[in-house]
Point group: C2
Chain length 420, copies 2
Amino acid sequence: MRQFRKRRFIINSLLDTDFYKFTMGYLVFKLYRLIPVLYALKNRTITVPLARFISESELRRQLDHVRHLRFRSNELHFIKGTYEYDLPMFADPAYIEFLAGLTLPPYWLVRAGDSYEITVSGHWAEAIYWETFILSIVNELYYRALMKKMSAFERHLVYAEGMRRLGAKIKLLREHPGIRFSDFGTRRRFSRAWQDYVVGVLSRELGGAGGQFVGTSNVHLAMKYGLTPIGTSAHEMYMVMSGIMHGSDDDIRASHNKVLQCWWTEFGWGLSIALTDTYGTPFFFTDMTPEQARNWKGLRQDSGDPFDFGECAIAFYTGLGIDPKEKMIVFSDGLDVETIMALFERFNGRIKVTFGWGTDLTNDLGFGSLSLVVKAVEACGHGLVKLSDNLAKAIGALDDVERFKRIFGHTATFNQTCRS
Amino acid sequence: MRQFRKRRFIINSLLDTDFYKFTMGYLVFKLYRLIPVLYALKNRTITVPLARFISESELRRQLDHVRHLRFRSNELHFIKGTYEYDLPMFADPAYIEFLAGLTLPPYWLVRAGDSYEITVSGHWAEAIYWETFILSIVNELYYRALMKKMSAFERHLVYAEGMRRLGAKIKLLREHPGIRFSDFGTRRRFSRAWQDYVVGVLSRELGGAGGQFVGTSNVHLAMKYGLTPIGTSAHEMYMVMSGIMHGSDDDIRASHNKVLQCWWTEFGWGLSIALTDTYGTPFFFTDMTPEQARNWKGLRQDSGDPFDFGECAIAFYTGLGIDPKEKMIVFSDGLDVETIMALFERFNGRIKVTFGWGTDLTNDLGFGSLSLVVKAVEACGHGLVKLSDNLAKAIGALDDVERFKRIFGHTATFNQTCRS
């Protein structure tokens, strides 16, 4: 159990983040480098008063350490050398030079009652990297606090239970050899060491050429274990773009497709998985053009009912005369092994499916998980909005949310809309 | 899981044995040093062809290493300094000098089909130490062979399951705080490292002054964790004594009580726990004199039905006008936590009870266990016999067993005898 002992610093490499931070980061660096953006931490798990578990000084120490980190030479090689998604990628040498000189912008941390407010403001090209570091740090400090109350043996039992659960997942997955999945669990992992362990085990047990474990979103672990770094883009692309193009309702509505256009121009087919739920998937299916639908590799589902989503996606492609079997859905919303198996059973053979497995993969040791997010909340001085297919996940000021619901015709949750 | 990686040598200390080897060893050294004794390994688990799992060369290498070991100075201090069982103990300085110069006698190993025959012949005072080393080595090599077929993660799952089971035991024991027990699991442990782990956990979780975990039979671990070394005597005392006194039926019968007399003379009350089943417990209760029953601290139960044994013991003491509440039973036959709890419930308040917990404590990770024994089979050229309260555990040549059954009036298993 020695490898799980708490490490002095949680983040020890600027690659210890999600791959999509670099794909988005590259596009942002090239097109929107100086856009002012404000990010904020939100704890959706209001029942857990974080400040009673995590000391402010330790939190600051961990965050400060990230600001002292620099990309190492072999890490820059790894990014620059990405070859898995059609060539060329990260082709502009200025980006690597930019990364080599990067210092993350300052953060603002205040204790508010029993919770913490963490915000970061800065140029988009620099501030974009904070998201997962903040999340990984707050998560790990929380679990360290829980573990601290235990005896050494009780801590061993936690890891033993985590191993047992991981073993049970592997056993079930082996019984369904058609299932392919990736680790998306960096941000809400139990700890760095535990994610490292899980990814190491999966790469040996289910990895390799043709294996079921196809990669990890964590770039550091992809480098360490020789795995494909997995990821494309996040809600922040659409959200910040709405700030950049802010103006009339039509301008804001147009910002959504603008993201798809920029992304295709930069990365082409290789990274063409579109996230559908920023303003609700029904809007997405009206906004994606037939040409985009034909060109793009597929879609990522991140909120709402994934079964309904799959049926709607198949109907969407079929309605355009596109064979859904040529297209792919990446499911990534709160998966567990049962949901993965059920989705695979439902859609296998009808449309390609793969799974981005997060919290339940890297933080399943018996504790409850925290629903923490770090989201872009302002860009160019404008409040940003995410509606998603589950309004409980909505982000934004109330007025802005109402306006965006109107602009994007978001009247209810995706499930209800899709079924009507 | 690093601490469980296989060690080059299984036995790395001559203290890595049961305490009773030194209590018996001391008495033997003083009284019967030059008695020629032959020990032999017996695998009662005939379904496991050991030689298909364990290579002869590795087995030899491990056994040879034991012959190269010497007692270290701090180890001799620990033995000589034993203070827990009334003073003085190991008082004769010649014994420590003898141990300091001890080389274990040669062993004989032959492969017979798919099993191994291991025998040791030598002077009792020297050959006596082989027993547990042979058992620990054969056991650990067997489990190493099973583990070798697994992936690293599958091995982790084995340890995780072992931890889970240990945690479940600790939880149950905490719910019954009156239960006191010791580790008797050296000989059939899964591995040295696992026994070390289990004893370390128990000493932290249930140990300390007034704790439920009162000690370990393993002298090395008693020294390492500051625990009481636990143990008194084994069947070999009675068995070898029958060889020493061999002659008429009466001589052989008298050899049983001779052991009790010698033991009391040497160690007095401190170590006065009598093993009852060498020739069947019914005989024992006819052979122990009222004075011995009054003097001796208690009895050890090692075969047959422990509930019947407890009732018979209480009846035995009561019949002699002795308050059973002043006496103790050490249960040590194939215990598991459910049996321990049931025995405690049955006898707590009626007679003192404690538990010597072996295989199920140190080898409970999901594998089956081997029923291996190393027994004294000859002394002074005479075949030795153990009948026990379960004739499936009987040791000895058929003719000898029949003779001993007649001499000791052993007509059936203890259960049947006691109930009739």
